[in-house]
């Protein structure tokens, strides 16, 4: 039985481990410490935790100041409010000023669940991807999240890290590597390349299994770093299979699907399909219901693959 664990738990545990080792680490939150589980860091290191209040722009600006003051700040808030409201602050005092600030967007994707459309961040990756110097990281599960936090801390420069709230299957292994900018190849195949990011990896594994039953050999690549994207791995796999399906718990506009299509269309145009949320807002619902609602299931991935496999003349 696959273990279920919330990515935010892995985030919080890693934060505390790093906090023990590195005194220059400080954590800021915008009145969501309980929900973001940064309150556990606060309990352990009260002098290095700062609740800036319900003010995301001030949060990001203050974090930039901490970086100028020689600290390594992790600025936490709900992903949509953080990336939407404080975009300009990230653009000017974080990225343009090249400050070593870690931006952590919580409640990501469908994990905001019943809060409804206002709270469902489906555009945050797109926004963060456009900022020069910003590294964008979207881990698959709690275990990969722990590795990601360590890598993010060690990385010199601005990073956006996307963290989900609700439990999802832990599908990566302790021995899997995590190198920023390097995609992980999970399964070799010859008919189609399925590229996923974030928590969709578990659905991709299910889809690959289903495709195998149907005699389709899928190559599975997990892209935890959407920016800088691992062009080499993507191009190599696309050259081998000739078909690409991207899968993300985020809008297909500007997210992983866009990033991969940019790489492919510039270097070797390849037929592709993008599984993700369409150009629309969300609704209230349980996370599982939302994954169905948005069409983010293994069955949707299988359908996208089968569309690509149909002979060109039949399309």
């Amino acid at each position: 039985m696959t273990q279920l664990k919330a990515p935010r738990e892995g985030y919080s545990e890693a934060l505390i481990r790093l906090g023990e080792r590195y005194k220059e680490m400080v954590v800021l939150d915008a009145d969501c410490a309980k929900s973001n589980m940064t309150n556990l860091f606060k309990d352990k290191f009260p002098d290095r935790f700062f609740n800036i209040g319900i003010s995301e722009c001030d949060l990001v600006g203050t974090a930039a100041g901490f970086a100028v003051g020689g600290k390594i700040p992790f600025a936490n808030a709900y992903a949509n409010f953080l990336t939407g409201r404080a975009f300009d602050q990230m653009r000017i005092v974080v990225c343009y000023a090249n400050n070593n600030v870690k931006i952590v967007g919580h409640n990501a994707g469908t994990s905001a669940a019943q809060e409804g459309a206002t709270h469902l961040p489906l555009e945050d990756i797109s926004l963060m991807r456009t900022l020069p110097r910003m590294t964008v990281i979207v881990p698959a599960d709690s275990l990969e999240m722990e590795k990601a936090v360590e890598a993010v801390f060690q990385h010199e420069g601005p990073v956006y890290l996307r963290v989900g709230k609700l439990p999802v299957p832990v599908v990566t292994k302790p021995e899997d590597p995590f190198v920023i900018g390097k995609a992980n190849l999970y399964q070799e195949g010859s008919d189609v390349t399925i590229i996923s990011t974030g928590i969709m990896l578990s659905e991709v594994f299910k889809a690959a299994e289903e495709l195998k039953q149907r005699g389709v050999s899928a190559e599975v690549i997990h892209v935890h770093t959407i920016k800088p994207i691992d062009k080499e791995t993507i191009l190599k796999s696309a050259a081998k299979t000739g078909r690409v399906v991207t899968v993300e718990e985020h809008s297909i506009i500007g997210g992983l699907g866009s990033a991969v299509s940019e790489v492919l269309s510039e270097h070797q145009p390849t037929p592709m399909r993008r599984v993700g949320t369409q150009d629309r807002f969300g609704v209230s619902g349980k996370m599982n219901e939302l994954l169905d609602f948005f069409g983010l299931r293994a069955a949707n991935i299988v359908n996208a693959v089968e569309e690509l496999l149909e002979p060109v003349t039949a399309q």
């Binding site: 001030d58 203050t62 003051g69 653009r91 000017i92 000023a97």
Partner: protein
């Protein structure tokens, strides 16, 4: 949190000696000459709000800021953030005179291959502590540095200059709540209150009402001064340093375009460079 306020009595504040006063009176004219010359050369830029901030920035950098021009990133330095980032003509002039880069470089202002961009860039320009240009962000950054300094037990101070029109940006007030909440008496906000913004008088665009009352009610120690009076400016920075338990806001009444007759008190010179003829007149007035 310690909210007790200790301020020095006025008689304890040290006025400039006649010699020093004469020096800075001449020196600020020199800064103003740089401002009009560099905007003229560039063919664009923001002289109005630079001329209003001249005494404030001169006295701050030459009398109060603990910085090392030879080591701009010195970890013990005081920080300054030009939140009204468009006023680079005065900022660069003061940084150059302080020794962060050659004075001749001022004539490369806004050049594509130079490092003195239209708005300050901390990556390229020595002495600039943060990039700015999008209004409203400086105080948050000043708070962050001040919090880091408190955490490390360092005595470094954090200064930020905010325009009066800029106070219409909501983030300023988010940050103004943060500063006293964390007892950041190492933060000093300077409001260049020249009464004019890009389009019109501030009062005609979106008025500030009781500005001193606003800062006081947010928990700040407020000092209201004539921002062109060198003694008052110097005293204000001393009082800010001596004020413990809460941050200080210096509300400096200034004149936009100060020092050049045809630039004074008009929004026309917010973001306009003088032509050849206007430069000649300006330089004559600044002798």
């Amino acid at each position: 949190m310690n909210t007790s306020v200790q301020t020095k009595k006025e008689e304890e504040l040290m006025a400039f000696t006649a010699e020093k006063l004469a020096h800075y009176t001449e020196f600020t004219k020199k800064i103003r000459r740089h401002i009009v010359k560099m905007t003229h050369k560039a063919g664009s830029g923001h002289p109005g709000g630079s001329l209003s901030a001249t005494e404030l920035l001169t006295v701050l950098f030459f009398e109060h800021m603990n910085v090392d021009p030879k080591n701009p990133r010195w970890e013990e330095r005081d920080c300054f953030f030009l939140s009204k980032g468009h006023c680079t003509p005065v900022y660069y002039s003061v940084l150059a005179e302080k020794g962060f880069f050659p004075v001749e470089e001022l004539m490369t202002f806004r050049n594509v291959d130079g490092r003195l961009h239209g708005h300050p860039c901390s990556e390229h320009c020595p002495g600039v502590d943060i990039s700015s240009g999008s209004l409203g962000q400086g105080l948050s950054v000043a708070n962050g540095v001040a919090m880091a300094a408190k955490l490390d037990g360092k005595s470094r101070r954090s200064y930020v200059m905010i325009g009066d029109g800029e106070l219409q940006e909501g983030q300023v007030w988010e940050a103004a709540m943060t500063t006293p909440h964390y007892g950041l008496d190492n933060v000093c906000a300077i409001i260049d209150w020249n009464k004019i913004q890009l389009d019109d008088y501030v009062e005609n665009v979106k008025g500030l009402a009781d500005l001193a009352g606003k800062w006081k009610s947010f928990g700040w120690h407020v000092i209201e001064i004539d921002g062109h009076n060198l003694n008052e400016v110097d005293d204000a920075f001393r009082e800010a340093k001596a004020t413990k338990g809460k941050p200080t806001a210096i509300l400096a009444h200034t004149i936009k375009g100060k020092g050049i007759s045809f630039m004074e008190n008009t929004h026309k010179w917010h973001g306009l460079a003088p032509n050849d003829e206007e430069l000649d007149i300006a330089l004559k007035e600044l002798v």
